[in-house]
């Protein structure tokens, strides 16, 4: 890997041309500009330009009190809003020296996994439109609606759930939730299995995706990616296993890995992770202890001791970290967001070199990076 891989170094030669993809493009949610230097159909150099929805979050967060930041963390990556809430709350809990209640831990795992399912479903859906498999997109969004309803029943909103709180969660499960969830997830499991069959038996789809955009384990490590693209290359790296937070050490689950590291395996990892998440949710619903779902006193005006914390989580897209520096006042001194999609997006240009223009959409979408989080 060379650094030249991230930028276009010279103007195109007479046999080459520059192709701008974006900023408005149907590839992924969120605008970015992908400049490709192509010779014939082959990509010689690629450069990704981001920042089109850079909101200056880190600066805004420095000007908000800790409790005001909580709903804003949803908006870092709206598809992983529960994970973002959770990683922020765990960081703050460490700074404040409190622990979430046992039931709250289970509730957070439950919502995190539901969130992972809906994020993967939308990610796969968008990817399938880009490879021209529109039927699957419609199926995926339909399936996602059922998961969104499950999340909505707990948190009260379809997107940007804002569910975790310092030391607990916002509200308890509604009555009859377990039956509803098990029924809905059981159906989802069947559907995902049949979609998986459909995708891995379609010969055109296989030709389009097998062996395309291959990222080997070594390259993936050098490029610094995490999450499904890394696991698709065969690296068993999952923070739920490596650094078990909440109650993941009490739950039984496998870290899904594939070996090839191509577009097909990246999507396969996501599909299988959905099934694995359903399994985790079922365990959560079974094992969930009764008891309070939040601390008796939620600290609304929070002035943590001066200090710093780096908390991280296995987000649907990889390793999400938040580095919070407190100076003893009610606002953070520095709030750094280390997004997984930033690392994934950075790894995209080297992956495109040498591939065909027609494969760009498949490769870019299979990385599933969320532009809002890349730009922050």
């Amino acid at each position: 890997m060379t650094h030249e891989a991230t930028q276009i170094t010279s103007p195109p030669k007479p046999s080459e041309m520059l192709l701008h993809l974006g900023p408005q493009h149907p590839l992924q949610p969120g605008p970015f500009l992908l400049d490709l230097k192509i010779e014939g159909e082959t990509i010689r150099e690629a450069e990704l330009k981001i920042g089109y929805i850079h909101k200056g979050m880190e600066k805004v967060f420095e000007d908000r009190t800790y409790i005001q930041i909580l709903p804003l963390t949803d908006r870092i990556c709206y598809l992983a809003s529960n994970s973002n809430n959770d990683v922020y709350c765990r960081g703050m809990e460490e700074l404040l020296g409190i622990e979430p209640t046992d039931r709250a831990k289970y509730l957070r795992v439950l919502t995190n996994e539901l969130c992972r399912i809906q994020s993967h479903l939308l990610g796969i859906g968008e990817y399938t439109t880009d490879v021209g498999f529109l039927t699957m997109f419609i199926y995926m969004v339909r399936e996602r609606e059922s998961v969104v309803s499950l999340l909505e029943a707990i948190t009260g909103s379809r997107l940007n759930h804002n569910y975790a709180r310092f030391g607990g969660v916002a509200q308890d499960l509604p009555p009859g939730y377990k039956e509803m969830a098990l029924k809905s997830l059981g159906k989802l499991k069947e559907l995902i299995k049949s979609h998986d069959d459909m995708m891995s038996s379609d010969s055109i789809y296989l030709k389009r995706t097998k062996g395309v955009g291959t990222l080997t384990a070594k390259e993936a490590g050098e490029l610094g990616v995490a999450g499904p693209p890394l696991r698709a290359a065969g690296v068993n790296y999952d923070l739920r296993r490596l650094e078990p937070y909440l109650v993941y050490d009490e739950l039984d689950f496998n870290v899904i890995t594939q070996t090839d590291g191509d577009v097909f395996s990246r999507v396969k990892v996501r599909l299988l992770e959905i099934l694995e998440s359903i399994y985790i949710i079922e365990q959560c619903l079974d094992q969930m202890p009764s008891g309070p779902y939040k601390q008796d006193v939620t600290p609304y005006i929070t002035r943590p001791e001066p200090g710093e914390v780096y908390s991280r989580i296995e987000d649907p897209r990889g390793e999400m970290g938040m580095y919070i520096i407190s100076d003893g006042s009610d606002k953070p001194y520095r709030f750094r967001i280390r997004g997984p999609a930033f690392a994934t997006a950075q790894a995209l240009p080297p992956l495109l070199i040498g591939t065909y223009v027609a494969d760009v959409a498949a490769i870019a979408a299979s990385m599933d990076s969320c532009t809002s989080e890349v730009d922050r």
């Binding site: 929805i53 979050m57 709206y78 419609i138």
Partner: protein
Amino acid sequence: MEEGGIKLGEIELEIPPNVSFTTTSAIHDFIKDSPMQKLVNWGRKNSLWFMTHPMGCCGIEQICVGVAHYDTDRFGIIPRASPRQADVMMISGYVTKKYLPALKRVWDQMVEPKWILMMGECAISGGPWWESYSTVINMDEIFPVDIYIPGCPPRPEALLEGFIELQKKIVAQKDRTVIPNPADGEV
């Protein structure tokens, strides 16, 4: 009738023999004042194709509303990927200093008649990021906005309601779409 040639932007075209150009919009003016306009508006209202152009969190709801479950196809509202094929642009998220020029360009690429919907607080007033150094607010001073859909994010039902309001506005001829008038000299 112009002397010598007609100007299309930068390009000067020779007028071929036996061809005459008109710069008045007789047909347009005639239709505008006749009951025909109602028919035209009926057609327009029932084929509001929108551009899938997700920019922020609201963009996810925009994707969801176009397919399965919420199925805007019932109202003749279909998602399109290209601005050239779309009638409606939704600003669905944060507009930044970096993106504004591109957004204006996308808007210019759409063919008239076209409408614009503001989806979510970010587009309407800046939302949670209104005071940030990189966002642009007051989008209504830049684009001719017809419908504002508040919410952070608005529910898909609210988005559908916004579309229905837009349809009502079109039927009532109260919308702010710019129908080009050749008499203005713009082609």
